[in-house]
């Protein structure tokens, strides 16, 4: 035993709960610092338990059990009055409440997550479709506006060179206008062709200024025009390069 000898006897008394006064205080102070004496104290408490167990006698009367069961029936388990245990039980209640809350929240999050996943999948599908359409449209525009674009009129073999002509493709609903011209005559200096929408009601609406290339070809794609215009015809005039707000006569090309 590596217990400090001066405390050996006091440890035994302390284990039995019969050490008092200054000696008790001195031992408790020593125990704070001495692990070997703490171990011996625990051993002595085990020895004291043997002493307690040595007690023998008659069994408790039957009325004791009946009295206990009656008291238990009146006091549901877990609702006692011991403050320390009461605190523990409340934590247990809060623990269950927290667990239930977690399950509810988890279910809500799962449900929301499923909806979000569905929305994301839907948006991804829509986005993919739009991306495809955009690429298709961009490819069309890129071809039409490429620097090396060749605009060739394919005609009956042996036919004469066709006159200047153009084709206007207009959608009122989409507010879109594409105009493609060929065989246009060269322009005087500082002049340009201007496309006009002739509406069913009101004055002609300017729809873009353009100059033909070396082969007489030209194109106008979706010029800025008012929405919802009902077109009766399309016309071309020759205007200053900056364009005009009203057509300058004469109309050199007309269709409708």
């Amino acid at each position: 035993m590596s217990v400090h000898e001066q405390f050996a006897d006091d440890l035994a008394l302390y284990a039995l709960g019969c050490l008092e006064g200054d000696e008790r205080a001195a031992l408790e102070k020593h125990l704070e610092e001495c692990a070997s004496c703490r171990r011996e104290l625990e051993q002595l408490r085990g020895d004291a338990a043997l002493l307690a167990l040595s007690a023998s006698g008659p069994r408790p009367p039957a009325r004791s059990q009946a009295r206990l069961m009656e008291a238990i029936a009146k006091e549901p388990r877990g609702l006692g009055s011991v403050a320390k245990a009461s605190g523990a039980r409340w934590w247990a209640v809060w623990g269950w409440a927290a667990a239930v809350a977690m399950i509810v929240v988890a279910a809500m999050v799962w449900n929301q997550n499923a909806k979000l996943k569905s929305s994301i999948a839907e948006l991804q599908g829509l986005s993919e479709q739009q991306r495809f359409e955009l690429e298709h449209a961009r490819h069309v525009v890129d071809t039409l506006t490429a620097q090396d674009v060749q605009r060739v009129d394919v005609m009956q073999v042996g036919a004469k060179q066709p006159p200047p002509q153009g084709k206007a493709i207009y959608s009122r609903q989409n507010n879109g206008l594409i105009f493609v011209a060929s065989n246009l005559l060269p322009l005087p200096a500082q002049k340009a062709y201007e496309l006009w929408i002739i509406p069913t009601k009101g004055a002609p609406i300017p729809a873009g200024v353009f100059k033909p290339d070396a082969h007489g070809g030209a194109m106008v794609i979706n010029p800025p025009i008012p929405a919802g215009v009902e077109a009766k015809a399309f016309a071309i005039t020759i205007e200053p390069e900056a364009g005009s707000t009203t057509p300058t006569m004469p109309i050199v090309m007309l269709g409708g």
Binding site: A8, D9, D10, L11, A12, L13, A15, L16, G17, C18, L19, E20, G21, E42, Q43, L44, R45, G46, D47, A48, A49, L50, L51, A52, L53, S54, A55, S56, G57, P58, R59, P60, P61, R63, S64, Q65, R67, L68, M69, A71, I72, E75, R77, G78, G80, S81, V82, K84, A85, A88
Partner: protein, 157 residues
């Protein structure tokens, strides 16, 4: 709870009666101990094996408090036995107790008396010295060596 009572009520009642020497008072302590267990199911671990040593100690403490007419000195939740007698079952406990009782019978009467006055009657060492007329040092040594004899008796079984 009924099973716990069947198995351990005899230990609790015996310790309480040993301390209090009064059946009604012992029944009160018995009731109090088992109600504490009922109210604090987490106070003991059913898987720890034999609860008898721990129950005997907390019963002794509560009974001595009652005998000395003082407020409970310790909560049963704070009473622990980190080194318990190696009593795996009730049969082991029975054999060990035979050894302990034999050791108590064999030790000098003055030594046994000092142990019992300290543990079962809750006297302080100075009170024992005053009642017996023996020097304090003698009382201390008797108590320590008495406990050692009990330990040795169980270890050599």
């Amino acid at each position: 709870m009924a099973q716990l009572y069947t198995r351990y009520s005899a230990v609790v009642y015996a310790v309480a009666l040993r301390v209090l020497a009064d059946t009604a008072a012992a029944e009160d302590v018995l009731q109090e101990i088992f109600m504490q267990l009922w109210r604090n199911p987490g106070a003991f671990d059913a898987g720890r094996g034999n609860l008898a040593p721990w129950l005997a100690v907390i019963t002794r403490n509560r009974a001595v408090d009652s005998l000395r007419k003082r407020r409970p000195q310790t909560d049963i939740l704070e009473t622990t036995l980190s080194v318990e007698p190696d009593l795996a079952g009730d049969a082991d406990r029975g054999r060990a107790m035979e050894k302990v009782r034999a050791a108590l019978t064999e030790m000098p009467a003055a030594q046994r008396s000092s142990l019992e006055m300290a543990y079962f009657q809750g006297y302080s060492h100075s009170e024992i010295s005053h009642k017996t007329g023996e020097p304090l040092g003698t009382i201390k040594t008797r108590i320590r060596t008495g406990l050692m004899l009990l330990r040795k008796a169980v270890e050599t079984r």
